[in-house]
Amino acid sequence: MSQPNQIPDSSVGLVETRSVIFRGAEWVLQLESGKTLHPVKVAYETYGRLSPAKDNAVLVCHALSGDAHAAGYHTGAPGEKPGWWELIIGPGKPLDTDRYFVICSNFLGGCKGTTGPADIDPATGRPYGLNFPFYTVRDMVKVQKWLLDHLGVKKLLAVIGGSLGGMQVLQWSISYPDLVLGAIPIAATARMSPQAIAFNEVARQAIMSDPSWNYGLYKPDRQPESGLALARMIAHITYLSENAMLRKFSRRMIDGTERGFKLEADFQVESYLHHQGSTFVKRFDANTYLYITRAMDYFDLHLDYGSLKNAFDPCKSSFLVVSFTSDWLFPPFHSQELVKGLRQAGKNVSYCNIGSDQGHDAFLLPGNRMGEVVSGFLTRLEKEVQLAGK
């Protein structure tokens, strides 16, 4: 037997992804596109304990390539990587699992356990593929609400998420104003810029022009690997900043300083991107990528509600909006527009444009002040709840 991994005390430790299937007439999911979906399976993980008063639940919404495994380890095997937000979830961490009951689920249409395009369509017995209905951020949130009902959680101390996760946070505060005490959209936007949609489109085209994609009819073990890897490489560039790349790779060559006069990866930045691409195809489904990026493109609070002020008018949450100075995919001024809309709607809002050269991905990385800012906000909400309960 191999030596068990040394799991640090600051981790939630060994965890498992559980799932629930919503089946039955009352669980037919009405999607914004007009289509329906049934049944719906949801994969989720929880950390910490729900307090007797059921007032300490924090919902974590993941981004494009995330999943329900936000913290801890599945096997404890040597070299196993922890959940994607191990940085801030755990005992004594900003999302302190000694104090909060943290929930994270794979969103609707994902490929990590929740019903999505890679799953078997019960009507045909084959994977949904392109027969999967289009879904939106609003639909994702609706399914997360089902999960909370299933878990007996009636109130959320906070909803938190970065990027596409931040879009879900905004939608949560609008769709369920009475449930959400605190909303923490990080590196988010009310609607993506045409530039960001353009990058998504290039990524989709990369997938769809791979012959193995075959109009979505590929077998699970025959993914359009080169297309999906290329999509990931393009996207990954948008998650970093020029400075982050300069700091990480400079112009360093893979083999010393000599030019290789070859077309294979010669610069370190190239091999890094290739690595990102090739590891991604092992853990992600190509059709799912097409659908999720579309859900991001279509997210538009201005279009849905007329204006941001209108969108936020029904909200009852306190907001903590966070952006990062070097994020050019979801740039700080998008967050500042959210703040403006929230101010106009008379909501309680805090905002910090955190200094970081890490680009859009900063919310997943150490070395910036996001953690302490989130922790301060959550502690304040916790105190407010305690005061109100007295």
């Binding site: 703040v339 008379g346 809002v349 805090s350 910090c352 200094g355 002040r369």
Partner: protein, 224 residues
């Protein structure tokens, strides 16, 4: 709302003792559980005291992102923004008290800021160094140079205060704008003896002035 680098560059630490000296007087003006907005709230020193001692619903605006992060880490409600932008987004009278502690003379358009403050707040506290203090007058007369002292701790080229004002000037402005002066405090900040209240000849004898203002109403004509 992009951070204005010029403004963040200043070394506010040098005027920190002066700014914090006034906190007790501002605290006195706030009523319990009021909605208070501190414009240029720095690291949230005053907001924290207001929250703890007066249980106010605190809010702050601050440009420096490190300072904002400090505020948020303490659980204060603060927005990172240029205080000259975006105040128009707030609804009228959505605060009971607006605090302009040593910031009015640092902005490009003090009139607009003052008027915005009195639109979104029922009352506003304004503090500033009094340039008519006798030491300053004497210093200028005898040496021909601008003062660098406890209340104005910067050389002319590095001062965040891009404007100078005297108590008389400010009272004159309030009269012109029909701003009611609800109360005022004139102080002599001094590192050697206890801060003193100045009652006699304030424009000559006080180093710092504090005004509590209201929109409209009668002008209290008692300039000294």
């Amino acid at each position: 709302m992009q951070a204005n680098e010029d403004k963040v560059r200043f070394d506010w630490n040098r005027s920190l003792p002066r700014d914090r000296e006034l906190d007790p007087y501002i605290l006195e003006l706030a009523n319990p559980r009021e909605r208070v907005l501190d414009l240029g709230c720095g690291r949230g020193e005053l907001l924290k005291k207001l929250k703890e001692e007066k249980k106010v619903r605190e809010h702050g605006i601050e440009l420096n992102s490190e300072h904002v992060a400090d505020c948020l880490a303490q659980g204060l409600s603060v927005i990172q923004a240029d205080l000259e932008e975006g105040l128009s987004d707030f609804m009228g009278e959505c605060f009971d008290l607006i605090i302009l502690n040593q910031v009015l003379l640092t902005v490009k358009d003090p009139l607009a800021l003052l008027q915005q403050a009195l639109r979104i707040g029922r009352r506003a506290v304004v503090t500033f160094p009094n340039f008519a203090h006798w030491r300053i007058r004497l210093h200028l007369l005898l040496t021909g140079r601008l003062p660098v002292n406890q209340t104005l701790p910067y050389k002319w080229y590095e001062s965040p205060e891009i404007r100078l004002a005297t108590i008389k000037d400010f009272q004159e402005l309030c009269r012109e704008l029909h701003i009611e002066i609800e109360s005022r405090r004139f102080l002599q900040l001094n590192s050697l003896v206890q801060n003193r209240k100045v009652n006699l000849w304030p424009n000559l004898r006080s180093t710092v002035a504090l005004f509590c203002l209201r929109r409209g109403g009668q002008y209290d004509s008692n300039p000294k």
